[in-house]
Amino acid sequence: MHIKEVTCPRCGKISVVDGGLYEIGTIRLRCTHCGFYFEPPDSPRSKTVAQVTNANVPITIWEPEETA
């Protein structure tokens, strides 16, 4: 998987994410360091969840309740 580095808007630290996940843009990433969930602000939003997951049913993104 291609790697993309993203900077957490809360703690300023870098996490490494799948380039495809980053390119969806509407899914919140999780900061590896502080656990903050955020949408990557500079994502090109050029990919769909279906493309990235290769699933053939509509996919819901699940997050734990205690997300920041």
Partner: protein
């Protein structure tokens, strides 16, 4: 070769504690803050580290976990051999032995003696925080285990075993990375029908059980049968606590989390230290919901030291499968090397070539055996496939790039390969570094052996400068 004799993980450890050099840490250890892997890192040598049993572990609730945890089961080649009942320090001996052992498939036996269900936690009491979830390497995206997932193909009685990374999400949920192979196909089948897929996360069993999960097995082969082959006797199974006979589980396991891969849901998961020796990135992975935790008294979780020798050596079953595939296509294949230290997508094949075209045929067999390998180097059998210097010598002196380097486009790749764009295609190559049949080979520059015998070193006085 005689396969291992099945027993519990604890029995195996006790039997082989001296031969494996087992170390036990009695001090309290919090694996969630890298404490366990920090100790392992200091014990790691180029040839691996000793198995280490952490006997007093803190869980996510800050209390002492009911489970102990074992790392480095596969870190030393000798330990891998002892897992399979093969006494050797030589990797190639294991590769040669494994196909014979794997061929003796054994049908599981249902038993009423189910140590792994000595304690069963379900309902409101269920809480994954009782477990000693672990951080392995820097920048890992959460707390992890590396269990074996046992699942039954929808609409059949065939079981698959799959080795996965699993991260803690909340008291009943976990995220699971699944590569697009058999478990992925099972889940996809269930998902298309709108169903969750029941799975048993096996957190510890005899070390041969885990190696069965790493084998490249044909889709029609039940991997509970393969586990029996590697363990040396039929796998004992019992109905699961949650799903009954719809999901039979290994009765002799140490601990099992029963649950379901939830259809039509994904979760952000990762990064995790992978066998590529990089972090596999944060990605969209499958969502697991737990229904029960079952375990034997004083269970031992068999955990992998991710991204290190323990992790790489655990691929021995895949490596042996590559050798078997190449040899099936071209019987002249003598050895297959799979670099452990930086070449997880590259294999080296040696053969006693008798016809041009055999190198390409052997390479294609390896490329077709799974989605892990994208690059194959083929050498003559005077080259040591386990020695990168030797392989590079062959490439340097026996290859004409315009004829002997074949580029391959449109291959399915591994999701963990950082050069590969996810579910798109990747590319590979075959390098044929063999002499052509009938080609006159230049003599290798060396002193005659007879002369070395005739003029032994100890007959001379060697003065130091």
């Amino acid at each position: 070769m005689s396969p291992a004799t099945a027993s519990s993980l604890g029995d195996w450890l006790e039997k082989h504690s001296t031969a494996t050099g087992l170390l036990t840490v009695e001090d309290p250890v919090d694996p969630g803050v890298y404490e366990a892997t920090a100790i392992l890192a200091q014990l790691e040598t180029p040839s691996g580290g000793p198995p280490v049993l952490f006997a007093n572990l803190r869980n996510l609730s800050g209390e002492r976990s009911p489970a102990r945890m074992l790392f480095n089961t596969y870190s030393k080649r000798r330990s891998v051999g002892l897992a399979l009942g093969v006494e050797t320090d030589t990797w190639n001996d294991l590769l040669e032995a494994l196909p014979q052992i794997s061929a003796n498939l054994q049908k599981p036996i249902e038993t009423a003696d189910v140590p792994v269900q000595d304690t069963v936690i379900q309902g409101d009491d269920l809480d994954l925080r009782i477990l000693p979830w672990t951080r392995h390497v820097e920048m890992e995206g959460g707390l992890y285990f590396t269990p074996i997932l046992a699942a039954k193909q929808p609409g059949s009685d065939r079981y698959n075993l799959s080795w996965n990374r699993v991260t803690y999400l909340d008291p009943i949920h976990a995220g699971v990375h699944i590569s697009p192979r058999q478990l992925w196909s099972f889940q996809r089948e269930a998902e298309q029908a709108g169903d969750d897929l029941p799975v048993a996360m096996v957190l510890g069993h005899h070390p041969a059980f885990n190696l069965a999960a790493a084998a490249l097995t044909a889709i029609q082969i039940d991997e509970y049968h393969v586990a029996g082959a590697l363990m040396g006797e039929p796998l004992q199974v019992a109905p699961s606590a949650r799903f009954g006979e719809d999901l039979m589980v290994p009765a002799g396991a140490e601990m099992i989390i029963e649950g379901r891969l939830i259809a039509a849901h994904r979760v952000v998961e990762g990064p995790f230290g992978e066998y590529m020796r990089y972090l596999g990135p944060q990605k969209l992975s499958h969502l697991f919901e737990a229904d029960a935790i079952t375990f034997r008294p004083e269970p031992i979780i068999l955990e992998i030291f991710a991204g290190h020798r323990d992790h790489l050596n655990a691929h021995v079953s895949i490596h042996a499968s590559l050798l078997a595939a190449a040899r099936t296509a071209v019987p002249q294949v003598t050895r297959v090397g799979w670099f452990q230290g930086g070449g997880p997508t590259t294999a080296v094949v040696a053969l006693d070539k008798s016809a041009d075209g055999q190198p390409m045929r052997a390479a294609m067999a390896i490329l077709s055996a799974g989605n892990l390998i994208k690059q194959v180097i083929v050498v003559d059998d005077d080259i040591d496939v386990f020695d990168a210097q030797s392989v590079m010598w062959a490439i340097s002196t026996r290859v004409r790039a315009d004829e002997d380097v074949i580029m391959l486009k449109g291959l399915q790749g591994s999701l963990l390969d950082p050069s590969h764009p996810g579910f798109g295609t990747t590319a590979g190559f075959v390098i044929d570094a063999t002499w052509r049949v009938g080609q006159t080979r230049p003599p290798v520059a060396r002193v005659p052996e007879a002369a070395v015998s005739q003029f032994p070193l100890d007959a001379y006085t060697l003065k130091e400068a």
